[in-house]
């Protein structure tokens, strides 16, 4: 009887270990003092972080990635939020077509998107420019903004907007003073997802970043072809911490929005 209880817990524990362990190992290796990749490290130190922060070959791609991701956030959040507001009110047939187009980057295999973009962008001389990276990454980031904003829109009690309108608010005032504050967590979550989607993206970058817009994932990929020195472990650990922090923030935001929504709807009922 005791075995029947412990055994499943042990199995789940082992699988969770399998999930977490590789990430933990990368973090530990990044603090190694050894000149080569070895585990466990003989001693700990920050030499690989120093190697990263003192090497322009790593810092330049980092800035390109941050710059591109920030531009993607602005473009994707703006276009995606507007579209989510529109799509929710479209007739059903149009809504299905529009959502199909906008959400399709989630299911079309990455390589197909990447070479399609490479095929067209190279004809217009865009390959190797940060602009091309922003234009392409925005397409990949937009589905996350639209789904996130749509989810928060669907949770809005329609009576709130009706109340504002019937009390004499203009449609514009209703949007800025009622709808926008209510969907704001959804917009923020979408923006965080957009940042990470662009910051982590590799397949499109492999084809269109050329030599003029090398991003951090592309730089890591190029480096891995020749060596696996622990600098990449340091870079990986930094990106894990950054994405985990942003995703964690998005997760908490979404949870809080869900709780608020339940509180307001139960208060209304």
């Amino acid at each position: 009887m005791i075995l029947a209880r412990i055994l499943p817990a042990g199995v789940v524990g082992l699988i969770l270990f399998f999930l977490a362990f590789p990430i933990v190992v990368v973090a530990i290796v990044s603090f190694s003092s050894a000149t080569y990749l070895t585990f466990p490290p003989p001693a700990f130190g920050l030499r690989w972080y120093e190697a990263y922060f003192s090497n322009p070959d790593w810092l330049k791609p980092t800035w390109v990635s941050i710059w591109v991701a920030c531009a993607v956030v602005v473009l994707a959040t703006f276009l995606g939020t507007l579209a989510a507001l529109g799509i929710a009110r479209l007739p059903k047939a149009m809504r299905v077509v529009a959502a199909g187009l906008i959400l399709s980057p989630l299911i079309v295999p990455g390589i197909v998107v990447a070479i399609g973009i490479y095929y067209a962008y190279s004809r217009y001389g865009l390959v190797g420019t940060p602009i091309a990276m922003v234009l392409a990454h925005t397409c990949l980031a937009v589905p996350f903004v639209v789904t996130s904003v749509t989810a928060s829109l669907s949770g809005i009690d329609p009576r709130l907007e009706q109340a504002a309108l019937s009390l004499g608010a203009t449609p514009g005032a209703t949007f800025f003073q009622v709808t926008l504050p209510l969907i704001q967590p959804g917009v923020l979550v979408g923006a965080l997802f957009a940042f990470i989607t662009s910051f982590d993206e590799l397949i499109v970058a492999l084809f269109i970043s050329g030599t003029g817009a090398v991003t951090l994932p592309r730089r890591m990929w190029d480096d891995l072809r020749f060596q696996i020195d622990p600098t990449i472990a340091a870079v990986s650990t930094l990106t894990i911490v950054l994405t985990a922090a942003l995703m964690g923030a998005a997760h908490l935001l979404r949870k809080r929005a869900e709780r608020n929504r339940m509180a307001t709807s139960s208060a209304a009922a």
Binding site: I15, V108, G116
Partner: protein
Amino acid sequence: MSEVAQPASLALAVSRPQTAPFDWRRAVPLLLAAPLLLYMLVFYALPVVAMLLRSVNDPSWTLSHYATLFDDVVFQKTFWITFNTSVTVTLGCLILGYPVAMGLVRAKAMAPFILVIILLPFWTSVLVRSYAWMVLLGRHGLVNEALLALGMIDRPIRILNTPLATQIAMIHILLPYMILPIANALRQIDPSLIRAASGLGSTPFMTFRQIILPLSMSGVAAGTLLTFVLALGFYITPAMVGGPRDITLSMLIAQQVDQLNWAYAATLSAVLLATALAILAVARKLPGVGNAFRTSMR
């Protein structure tokens, strides 16, 4: 003063033709969606379609590129490897994912901790996770060192750059896509059903077989199809940790583009895309799967 009068007279002029009453408010949703729809068409959909058209219009309109696939040994071998890898990885995810989903749903105090462990790798990029497996599975990696220390092998064995390495790393990467839909389905099971079963003398195993498992099938189906479709398109992981001869469809497509063989690359892309879409079309037809899909994609 005339500035104030002008808009009013304009409005009058616009509203005068009563024969065609046009309510601008009905166009607002479309106007809001239009910028993004145009953007997606210009920078994503038309480029992909233009590329795919190379499979039927190179050098002139023809289906010969598709016809030759039937005797194309390289394509058939690659397709088989891709399909095989996806099946193995999906099964691996199902076997490892179901217990974790049950553990996540049943855990009380531990639930946030388990969720973080599931989500942390989920939030880490595919590149970083593939790199982690390069570190672990290498010739002097942790797995080899551990096996040597335990006396299970005499000298380091080759794991990195084999199909096994690809499968392990892909299972690790795709596992959350399996766990989350199953956990969603499990969470929706009415706990009173389980209490009723055990109250009526059902053993835990019988309760699982006859109540929990059938009621979680929509989540299982959604997770399985999602994992499989994502596995079909994998490129980075097999290229990094897989064997040099174990080429997936995505890798073959990239190779052909490098050789500027656009017609062949486009044909392969169309096959890959059609396979993925066909599976998703089936998925939408299954009861409950469409819903589970939507909630898990968020």
